[in-house]
């Protein structure tokens, strides 16, 4: 008869001495495997008398349970140690840099264009577009520029080469007003549109580039008057600059295509080298506007006795500069990645009225 106490002590020692999961397994097979010592004892219980079995059974089963749990505990301990060792070997230096990704962005002029369209959309304006290369009629004549009038000269127009057969010279549109003309000629009033796009003038200095962007607006209705113009534009400018209100003034001005005509200024303070709106004694010119000239309506097939309305136009690049403190116009079109990274906008900052424009 095996001394169970010795057997248990031997097995527990063997388990304790196992250094690997495999050694634990060897002990398990020797004790609890098919031909293992404890398995042999359990098998031997079948030959015992009921009294003997009643006495030995709990002893042998107890032995088996203690050895089994010691084996399990040892195995778990060794597995944990092995995992620790493996993980320790898997150490990487996370201070090393990740592969760099290019950071893209949206150009400020385009961002501001989206901002403006978001505001005008809310006011019920839709977006109209037209070609950059225009004819004299759409860019000038329809807009009440008399032929050879000095106002045409003031536009510094770019001309394409004259057509060899007709002699006609196409122009690069000097404003997006031809889109207004095309809209009025193709659409029945009432009309409420904005026309954003590229415009061209032969001018180049710190505040002028030969190409720039304008957004113009046109509202035609039965009884639209200058009061509507004033309120619409004040609302727009306030929302665009994300102000509760703007201290604006409207100054008489002259444009061939509007009558009466005006320019809109906002009170501002530039004394600190920074532009602060609604404060100070200075005025910042923001846009030109006016009531659509009856001749323009007539040229576009609209009866000025039945319909009237207002139009306005502003420089998108310039307003982007004013809003976001861009000091110089020319880098806008130079695609310097350093400049784009500094003044550009996140792809995910799509202007909307829920989160504020910017």
């Amino acid at each position: 008869m095996i001394d169970l106490a010795t057997l248990e002590l031997d097995l527990i020692n063997a388990i304790g001495g196992a250094a690997t999961v495999a050694e634990v397994e060897a002990v398990r097979v020797a004790a609890l495997g098919k031909t293992g010592t404890i398995s042999g004892l359990l098998k031997g219980m079948g030959a015992m008398s009921p009294e003997e079995r009643r006495e030995q059974g709990p002893v042998i089963n107890g032995l088996r349970d203690r050895v089994a749990s010691a084996l399990a505990a040892k195995k778990a301990e060794l597995e944990a140690a092995e995992l620790d060792a493996r993980l320790a070997a898997e150490h990487v230096d996370l201070t090393l840099p990740a592969r760099s990704r290019r950071k893209g962005g949206v150009h400020p002029t385009m961002q501001v264009m989206d901002e403006m369209i978001a505001v005008f959309a809310e006011m019920g304006f839709s977006v109209a577009e037209g070609p950059d290369i225009e004819d004299d009629f759409h860019n000038f004549t329809a807009l009440n520029f008399p032929p050879k009038h000095p106002a045409r000269e003031m536009h510094d127009t770019f001309f394409l080469r004259p057509d060899p057969e007709t002699g006609e010279r196409k122009v690069l549109r000097t404003h997006t007003s031809p889109v207004q003309v095309r809209t009025m000629m193709s659409q029945e009033p009432p009309i409420r549109i904005v026309a954003p796009g590229r415009t061209f003038r032969k001018d180049s200095d710190a505040t002028h580039t030969p190409m720039f962007h304008q957004i113009e607006g046109l509202v035609i209705g039965r009884d639209i008057h200058m009061g509507h113009l004033k309120t619409t534009l004040k609302d727009f400018v306030a929302r665009f600059f994300e102000l509760d209100d703007v201290d604006a003034r409207f100054r008489p001005h002259h444009f061939p295509f509007t009558e009466p005509s005006a320019e809109m200024d906002i009170r501002c303070d530039r004394s600190g080298g920074k532009l602060v709106l609604n404060e100070g004694d200075d005025w910042l010119e923001i846009l030109g506007c006016g009531m659509v000239h009856p001749n323009v309506l007539r040229n576009c097939g609209i009866d000025p006795d039945q319909w009237q309305g207002f139009a306005f136009g502003m420089g998108v690049d310039r307003l982007a500069m004013l809003k976001y403190g861009v000091p110089d116009l020319r880098p806008m079109f130079e695609a310097d990645v350093r400049w784009l990274a500094h003044y550009g906008f996140s792809a995910f900052a799509a202007p909307n009225l829920a989160s504020g424009l910017s």
Binding site: K103, G104, G105, G124, P131, D163, K170, G227, A335, D336
Partner: protein
């Protein structure tokens, strides 16, 4: 246009300051550019008297002066040779800024003697161009008198004249608007008739009435010319004009006072007794145009479109009409008999002459914009009066040829239109008063309707053509600050948004590309013509006739050259690795339908070395970006074919391809840019790019509802099987993928290439392409036999391309 405050007050009874006048001008539509107040700069300077002047102990040329000043007796060191006891001169205290020197005075010793201020010359105060020593003033001028007062320095207002208001080019025109706006009361500026004592010996013949319809003149004999009196000199110099002599100064004065240009001829230099007004002539034999030496000393060639004033029976040109007189008949101090011209020259012709000959003058500027045709004779009378006052002499009768253009015609006006158009609620009296003050003739009851008015614009307001113009007059004089606040009728935001499908796609593309790491650029619509030619453009019709610069002389046929040049510029600044995009126009022709919107992207792959080794092949990154972008904008990517070898010649022939919906609908080209093109653009390669023609991307069909179809979410696990096929080297991998995918369109959901191998085990001239096929069971789990059958179909499909299953 400039004028001084005192000049204004000659015609306007007002107590307004320059600032108040400027504000009123601004709000009446006269755009003030600057209010220059020289008195401000002269404020520190006062009159002083030298009591004693002794030799400086240590400097031969310096004197130490005791000076009686507004600040008491001061010791001042002075280097001027005329610094002497008893001299009345100008004193500048310590702290004063001396404009002519550009320095602020500080107390410091001059060769050991402290100077407590400075004695000044006129030039140091910018009151004269040059000075000889310190200013010598009359002894009776009291010490302490402000220098500003002494020199009559006064505020000058400079403003921009809009092209519709030539009458603002004279002070009286400004005054009329200011009086209507309530700034003061108009002083009358009627002109008295000066009776001529004898018939004018010079006759006038107009041969070109289209250039000059009316010409008046008169001779004044026995005048004494010479320097103008001080008041006249000061008036002209205050606004930056030079005083020449009395006769010429009178013409300049009237040009600025009344917007009425005149010209004076020395009558004794005229050849013959007839002035002929005609177009420029060319010599019969040579065709050489006639030349004229103008008063600016330059020679001009007059064409038939230019108005020429001639004498000697019309043979000798003596002036460009409405622009500038000739040197040969100019007035100088020796002039005794003067012929004064007051005419009206056609605005468009005068503007054209200015442009074609590159000549401007105060007269040309005014005639080009339109001078009051009714001012021909009154202007001449006013000039006569002034010349008689300043130079004496005896005037002839007036000679008048031709006829002035008709005055503006009356038109009916309903005063209620003011409210309808401007929103300003004004009573008829106020409207009538404003129009009357501006010189409009208003009569009630016109066109057979009692309640309407008939309005006749004044002769100087040829810009006013109809009722809307009158509303502007009333509104601007009453004040735009009284405009009502009226919100637009609320239509709300359109419920379907305001962007059309194309505009919405542009928006998505912009933000998708920015998210993929591309920076948005906005570049010129123009490029250099030979560059345009490299990209399939440069058509004659798209050449800019008057480019801003010679390298921007053609409309671009592609955005790529601009992006390539931009990348090269960035590389030259040390930023070689860039990804740029631009969404903008390209121009295929000059018609309204020949502009396209493209989405162009460019990668200049110069990734920094990375410790983890090289990353993905940049060309395939670009292809992946392009595909993802097309998916984002809703292009039918699945239906597109990729065609290689058909790209246009600015692409690398072996490393570029295009995406198309059939050979005629090319959606995009992409790949590496041809090295020859890069070299021509002075850019280092490689550069990878794509250009999507947005207009070619079909718009998705409009759907009746926003609801989407049922989602396809199979319950069964997809499984994968790998195959390796050997194909000839020239066979496109994409062909194999497409063939395999087509073997069972229901079960195969994806075909992935995971290896392309050439070398041992694969025959020369062939390659092995290993693919993983993703199979999605639909109704039931696939049996071994099902999978075997599918594998057979896959191999059969591949074999049709000449591929063999690699054993």
């Amino acid at each position: 246009m400039k004028f001084s405050l005192s000049w204004l007050k000659d015609h306007l009874d007002t107590t307004a300051t320059a600032a108040e006048v400027a504000d009123a001008m601004t709000m009446a539509g006269l755009e003030v550019e600057e209010v220059h107040d020289p008195a401000a700069a002269l404020a520190p300077f006062t009159v002083a008297k030298i009591v004693e002047a002794v030799q400086h102990p240590d400097a031969d040329r310096l004197r130490v002066c005791q000076v009686e000043t507004v600040d008491g007796l001061k010791e001042i060191v002075c280097g001027a040779p005329n610094a002497r006891a008893g001299l009345t001169t100008i004193y500048a205290p310590i702290g004063a800024y001396v404009p002519g020197l550009g320095v602020t005075l500080v107390e410091k010793p001059v060769r050991g003697v402290v100077s407590n201020g400075m004695l000044c010359s006129a030039s140091e105060l910018q009151l004269a161009d040059e000075s000889d020593g310190i200013q010598e003033l009359p002894p009776e001028v009291p010490v302490g008198t402000p220098v500003a007062k002494l020199f009559g320095a006064e505020p000058v207002i400079d403003f921009e004249v809009t092209p519709n208001r030539p009458d603002w080019l004279g002070v009286t025109g400004i005054v009329r608007d200011l009086a209507a706006a309530g700034v003061g009361t108009l002083k009358h500026f009627d002109i008295a008739v000066v009776r001529g004592g004898f018939p004018c010996p010079v006759s006038v013949r107009i041969e070109a009435p289209e250039l000059c319809p009316v010409f008046a003149g008169r001779l004044i004999r026995g005048v004494k010319n010479g320097p103008s009196p001080e008041w006249l000199q000061r008036r002209l110099t205050s606004i930056g004009l030079r005083s020449i002599n009395r006769l010429v100064d009178v013409t300049n004065l009237i040009a600025y006072d009344r917007a009425r240009p005149l010209h004076v001829y020395d009558a004794n230099k005229l050849v013959g007794s007839e002035i002929v007004v005609r177009g420029g002539q060319a010599a019969c034999e040579t065709g050489e145009p006639e030349h004229l030496i103008a008063l600016d000393g330059k020679t001009y060639a007059a064409s038939p479109a230019d108005c020429v004033i001639a004498d000697a029976g019309g043979e000798r040109p003596i002036g460009l009409g409405g622009v500038m007189g000739g040197e040969s008949t100019g007035c100088d101090d020796a002039t005794v008999d003067v012929f004064v011209e007051s005419a009206w020259f056609d605005p468009i012709a005068t503007a054209q002459t200015g442009r074609s000959l590159g000549i401007t003058s105060d007269a040309q500027y005014r005639f080009a914009r339109g001078v009051d045709p009714a001012s021909v004779v009154p202007g001449l009378e006013l000039a006569t009066r002034l010349i008689l006052d300043l130079c004496g002499g005896e005037p002839s009768e007036i000679v008048l040829a031709g006829e002035a253009p008709a005055n503006p015609a009356p038109f009916p006006f309903d005063p209620a239109y003011v409210k309808r158009l401007s929103g300003l609620d004004l009573d008829d009296d106020r409207i009538g008063t404003i129009l009357g003050q501006l010189g409009f003739l208003v009569t009630a009851g016109g066109a057979g309707q009692v309640e309407r008015w008939t309005v006749t614009p004044p002769s100087w307001r040829r810009d006013v053509e109809g009722p809307a113009d009158l509303v502007e007059e009333v509104a601007r004089i009453h004040g735009y600050d009284h405009l009502p606040d009226t919100p637009l009728p609320d239509q709300g935001a359109p419920s379907r948004g305001v962007l059309n499908a194309r505009q919405a796609r542009v928006r998505i593309a912009r933000r998708a590309l920015a998210a993929m790491g591309y920076s948005e650029a906005v570049t010129w619509s123009f490029t250099r013509r030979d560059i345009a030619q490299l990209f399939g453009g440069g058509d004659e019709r798209l050449v800019v006739d008057n480019p801003i610069a010679s390298d921007l002389d053609c409309m671009r046929p592609s955005v790529l050259p601009n992006l390539i040049q931009a990348a090269a510029r960035n590389a030259a600044r040390g930023h070689g690795d860039v990804a740029l995009f631009e969404i903008g126009p390209i121009y295929l022709g000059d018609g309204p339908g020949e502009q396209r919107t493209v989405i162009a992207g460019l990668i200049s792959p110069r990734a920094a070395r990375h410790w983890g080794g090289a990353g993905e092949d940049a060309l395939f990154t670009l292809k992946g970006d392009l595909t993802a972008l097309l998916e984002q904008i809703g292009a039918p990517v699945g239906a597109m074919q990729l065609a290689q070898g058909a790209n246009r010649d600015w692409w690398h022939p072996g490393r570029s391809a295009r995406l198309q919906l059939g050979p005629k609908t090319v959606i995009a080209e992409f790949g590496a840019v041809h090295p020859r093109v890069l070299k021509a653009l002075d850019a280092d390669g490689p550069m990878l790019a794509f250009e999507i023609v947005l207009d070619a991307v079909p718009e998705p069909k409009a759907k009746a509802t926003k609801a989407r179809g049922n989602a396809d979410l199979p319950n069964l696990m997809p499984l994968t099987r790998d195959f390796a096929f050997v194909v000839e080297d020239g066979r496109a991998g994409g062909d194999l993928v497409r063939a395999v995918a087509g073997a069972d369109k229901a079960l195969i959901t994806d075909v992935r290439v995971f290896d392309v191998y050439r070398g041992a085990g694969v025959p020369e001239g062939s390659k092995s392409i290993a693919i993983e096929v993703v199979i999605q069971p639909r109704e039931a789990t696939l049996t071994d036999a099902d999978i075997e059958g599918l594998s057979g179909r896959i191999v059969a499909a591949a074999e049709k391309l000449g591929a063999r299953l690699r054993s």
